[in-house]
């Protein structure tokens, strides 16, 4: 999508330039008109190829529109337009000039259908066309496409582009694309070997895939060269794979940490077996949903800020519900920790059903803001933005919480109250307040975890159930009452899980992790960061 | 000296917690049938020493022998208890949701495996023993009360009662008279002397009247090792003991 958007931008820039037109334009229009009569995908594809063959930059507009499913045929006169959403109906633009040419109701126009094969054809065609674009991003995209779809005919335009290229990084990409095309051409062996060297140096999966087909389709030194290059790529990739697994483990760990960290307060510190924890996470996610709905309908420009806005609100909503639960139920149960299980279980059923009644049982859509979409590469490591942000976010939450617990009077009072409520009261600590606020804090943190989890998981009334067991595992594995334990527990479970998954499969991997937890607890009956000594037993 | 006629033999025992040496090269020997009082400042390691003997804490180094030949560091709490080492804890710990009588019944000497317990029937001797102990600890009228409902001092007594019921060879008694009135203190001293006639006993206590009443050899621990040993009068005259423990 980004790629197509980039093309759109380029087009706008190009608008200013006067294209060599007139005679050619008439020809183009004639070809475009064929879209109206093309009855099936192969016919449409033929038109696309025909348009691309003109080599005229003007065809970018209709082609890009077609790829996006915005090319329409007016039913009354079979004219082809680019469509654009405009209040009520659809605004029609001229396919070549982009000038407004009236509007139409949905029923009056027919969309030119597009499928994946067509999209790919268009992408290839546009790739060649945008080689000379002003925006380097568009040129990079073009080089990338051409690398993936090598063709001997690409060599010449690429040579020209390379000659004109000023940006070094783009130039390297163009050269790689050229090398790819050389490999499928009938150029001399020496050229091909040089190309293999160039591609081998690139060292990523695309290079590997290209070389695989080269190896299959050639012989002699070229084949050997490809084999050798592949071996090299494979060995570096194996290293990167390990790195990738660690990253996946860390990012799974950050999700676990987020899910568990609120529980580390309500359960770890306060000793409430809080079965409604997952529902607090769910409330946070639903808050995000509501915030996004409001933004979508009233302030669409703020969409990228939706999560930032949702964070405090989710905290407040969940904290408030937590407060109500504490005041209404849990405060009567201190000193009877096991019974909190029964009560919070009841509460969780009620909350789940309440959300189901209010929002309906189906999934709700929570969108990713642009800064949380897509991915970037570090070497051969693909890092998705949303995971990265979640990691950063979870660490921040952890740090803040650690500070509150260890460095503020409130944290001290919290721990004192949970250790011995009666005596804490005799020290002048307002125990009901501390209890209520602590529970609210734990719940609120679960709520903001919900904001983050809405980005990777589905927002449904069942959201919480999926995390409750894992959360308890993490807290217990790390050692109840120890925040650091929760941190290390979450990340080590995440990483172990992700290292097992490729070998054992997701199902078996998970079973193995559970068995490992069971065995681990035998070794350390009080978790990873077990507190030792008399103090614990007293 | 030979281990063989000792009931408890500690030699060169050390233990540390996170770098803090609570017991430091401690050597202590108790003869069969002997009663010994142990005093020492707070944190000297008295309770820790008992933890080591009863298997609750493993020493980092040193020898701990019971009855001359049993290496206690190789056994766990239950084993050690079954061999005949009984303990009264500094802080009274009893089974709160059982009655006084049931507490004593569980402590009574006898087989300690599951199936006998499952098919156990109380015999007349056992009933007599329990009555006897209840008399000693003066909780006869509360025998059907839950232990949770006892006052602090009453729990102390109950624990002493449980120790008696166990009838161990060696009794470790940690601060038995804390929270007792002077009269009760005297009573306890009498009781312990009574017991000491056919048992070995180690008593830890800060109450000097009580220690005097016992009239036995006293060991003063300090910073994890023996500071001084002898009669109470001897210790009272020892400058170092006065300095760290008795005060002026």
């Amino acid at each position: 999508m980004i790629f197509i958007r980039a093309i759109g931008l380029t087009l706008l820039l190009l608008l200013g330039m006067l294209l060599p037109s007139n005679a050619a334009e008439a020809d183009l229009r004639a070809i475009i008109a064929k879209f109206a009569t093309a009855s099936n995908f192969s016919a449409i594809e033929a038109v696309v190829h025909e348009l691309a063959a003109t080599g005229d930059r003007a065809v970018e507009r209709p082609l890009a529109a077609l790829a996006e499913g915005r090319l329409y045929v007016r039913k009354t006169d079979s004219l082809v337009f680019v469509g654009q959403d405009g209040g009520g109906g659809i605004e029609l633009l001229d396919p070549l000039s982009g000038e407004k040419s009236g509007a139409a109701a949905k029923g009056d126009i027919a969309k030119v259908k597009v499928n994946n094969t067509l999209r790919r054809a268009i992408r290839d065609a546009l790739g060649t066309l945008t080689l000379g674009a002003k925006d380097p991003a568009a040129r990079i995209a073009a080089a990338a496409t051409m690398f993936k779809t090598p063709d001997a005919t690409n060599i010449e335009p690429l040579d020209a582009a390379i000659a004109n290229e000023t940006v070094a990084s783009v130039k390297a990409l163009l050269e790689q694309a050229r090398a790819a095309s050389v490999l499928v051409s009938d150029r001399p062996e020496a050229d091909k070997l040089a190309a293999i060297a160039l591609i081998g140096a690139r060292g990523d999966r695309d290079a590997l895939s290209l070389l695989t087909s080269v190896e299959a389709n050639s012989e002699g030194t070229v084949k050997d060269g490809a084999t050798a290059a592949m071996a090299k790529i494979n060995s570096t990739l194996a290293l990167w794979d390990a790195g990738q697994n660690i990253w996946y483990g860390i990012s799974l760990g950050s999700v676990l940490l987020l899910a568990a960290i609120g529980l580390a307060i309500t359960f770890g510190v306060m000793g409430v077996i809080n079965m409604a924890h997952g529902e607090m996470v769910m409330l946070g996610a639903y808050t995000t949903f509501v915030v996004q709905e409001v933004i979508r309908s009233s302030f669409p420009g703020l969409f990228d800020w939706s999560l930032v806005i949702a964070l405090p609100l989710a905290f407040l909503v969940a904290a408030f519900v937590g407060l109500v639960i504490e005041r209404g139920v849990i405060r009567f149960l201190y000193g009877r920790p096991l019974e909190t299980l029964l009560a919070t279980w009841g509460v969780s059923l009620i909350l789940q059903q309440a959300v189901r009644t209010i929002f309906g049982p189906t999934n709700q859509e929570v969108g990713n803001p642009s800064w949380m979409s897509g991915s970037f590469d570090i070497g051969q490591l693909a890092v998705t933005w949303n995971r990265l942000w979640i990691l950063v976010f979870s660490l921040c939450v952890f740090a803040v919480l650690l500070y509150v617990m260890k460095r503020t009077p409130w944290g001290l009072q919290m721990r004192a109250v949970t250790a011995n409520r009666r005596m804490a009261a005799s020290m002048g600590i307002r125990t009901p307040w501390v209890d209520a606020l602590t529970f609210a804090l734990g719940s609120g943190i679960a709520g903001i975890a919900g904001v983050a989890l809405s980005q990777v998981d589905n927002v449904s009334p069942n959201l919480g159930r999926g995390y409750i067991i894992d959360s308890f595992m993490v807290v217990v594995f790390g050692g109840v009452g120890n925040l650091w334990g929760t941190l290390v527990g979450a990340f080590s479970l995440g990483i172990v899980n992700k290292f097992l998954e490729p070998y054992a499969g997701a199902v078996l991997g998970k079973i193995v992790v559970l068995v490992l937890i069971i065995l681990f607890i035998q070794k350390r009956p009080r978790g990873l960061f077990a507190l030792k000594g008399r103090a614990v037993e007293a | 000296m030979s281990k063989s006629n000792t009931i408890l033999y500690l030699d060169g025992v050390s233990v540390s917690f996170d770098g803090f040496r609570a017991i430091n090269n401690l050597s202590l020997v108790l003869d069969k049938g002997e009663m010994r009082a142990i005093i020492g400042p707070n944190g000297a390691g008295k309770t820790t020493m008992m933890d080591i003997v009863t298997g609750k804490t493993r020493p980092d180094e040193g020898e701990v022998f019971f009855d001359g030949q049993v290496d206690l560091t190789k056994h766990d709490e239950a084993d050690i208890a079954m061999m005949g080492i009984g303990r009264k804890f500094q802080k009274p710990t009893v089974f709160e949701s059982h009655t006084i009588e049931e507490n004593l019944m569980l402590a009574l000497k006898g087989p300690r495996s599951i199936f006998p317990a499952l098919f156990h029937r109380r015999s007349a001797t056992e009933a007599r023993q329990i009555d006897h102990i209840l008399g000693i600890i003066r909780l006869g009228d509360k025998r059907d009360e839950l232990a949770a409902n006892l006052s602090h001092g009453q729990k102390q007594w109950l624990e002493i009662g449980m120790l008696l019921a166990q009838d161990p060879k060696l009794l470790l008694v940690d601060e038995p008279v804390a929270g007792m009135t002077d009269a009760e203190t005297e009573e306890t001293a009498r009781l312990l002397k009574d017991i000491a006639r056919d048992h070995s006993v180690i008593v830890v206590e800060h109450d000097m009247h009580f220690v005097r009443e016992l009239g036995v050899k006293v060991t003063c621990l300090h910073e994890g090792s023996v500071l001084s040993e002898g009669s109470l009068d001897f210790l009272s005259a020892d400058e170092r003991v006065v300095e760290v423990y008795l005060g002026r």
């Binding site: 004192a416 005799s426 020290m427 000594g533 | 707070n42 009135t181």
Partner: protein, 231 residues
């Protein structure tokens, strides 16, 4: 300063206090004595608000406390050293002491020097967890913690239990010092007669849930008083 009148207390159906009346004045040390299980702890816990009286009332500085919660009582100046220490095991010694800051004004939130003078061992062990301390050290911590609160009334339930003789003497000195310098009221439950005799301005003797004798410390030598303390 503190006035308990006609207090009764039940545990379920069992009665622990039967119409207890007691006064503790400012600048005075008031001692409560009695055999095991006569209700001393129950009385203290009622005063600090751990138990709610079945009937009767507790007034502090003229205000009735019966409706107020334990933390409000603490905030009005009552500090409590309970029987059995009840320090916070997982908090460090420092944190245990700092837990007494809650009722204090921001400016007062520091640990008064005399706490460490009195119990030097606490200073050495500031970073250790309270629960790891030995029994006697914990008892010292419990007393120190109460002192941090700068109380007007100090309620001590068998504070010398498990403490080495030299420190008992120090504690005695400290209590006297607090009485004389700060003019606070001290309510002391003791089994240790000598300690009591030395310190007390007034003694109350309890038996089976009621106060059976009130008088000056010298009364302790009277046989009719003594009989309440023998078995």
């Amino acid at each position: 300063m503190l006035e308990v009148s006609n207090a009764t207390l039940h545990y379920g159906a069992a009665q622990a206090l039967r119409g207890v009346s007691l006064k503790a004045g400012a600048g005075k040390i008031t001692c409560v004595l009695g055999r095991n299980g006569v209700g001393k702890t129950s009385l203290m816990r009622s005063i600090v608000g751990h138990h709610r009286l079945t009937s009767g009332s507790v007034a502090f500085e003229g205000k009735a406390l019966d409706r107020s919660a334990a933390y409000d009582r603490a905030r009005s100046g009552i500090a409590f050293v309970p029987q059995g220490r009840e320090i916070f095991p997982l908090l460090t010694v420092r944190e245990n002491l700092e837990s007494g800051f809650a009722p204090l004004k921001r400016a007062d939130r520091h640990i008064p020097g005399h706490v460490f003078e009195l119990f030097p061992v606490l200073k050495q062990m500031l970073a250790r967890r309270g629960g790891d301390l030995s029994g006697g050290q914990q008892q010292q911590l419990a007393i120190g913690r109460a002192l941090v609160m700068r109380p007007k009334l100090l309620v001590l339930d068998e504070p010398t239990e498990g403490i080495q003789p030299s420190i008992i003497k120090d504690i005695g000195r400290a209590i006297r010092y607090l009485r004389d310098q700060a003019g606070i009221a001290v309510l002391l439950v003791e089994q240790y007669l000598d300690f009591c005799r030395e310190l007390a301005d007034e003694v109350n003797i309890m038996d089976r849930g009621r106060i059976v004798h009130t008088g000056p410390a010298e009364d302790l030598d009277r046989a009719d008083v003594r009989k309440f303390l023998t078995v």
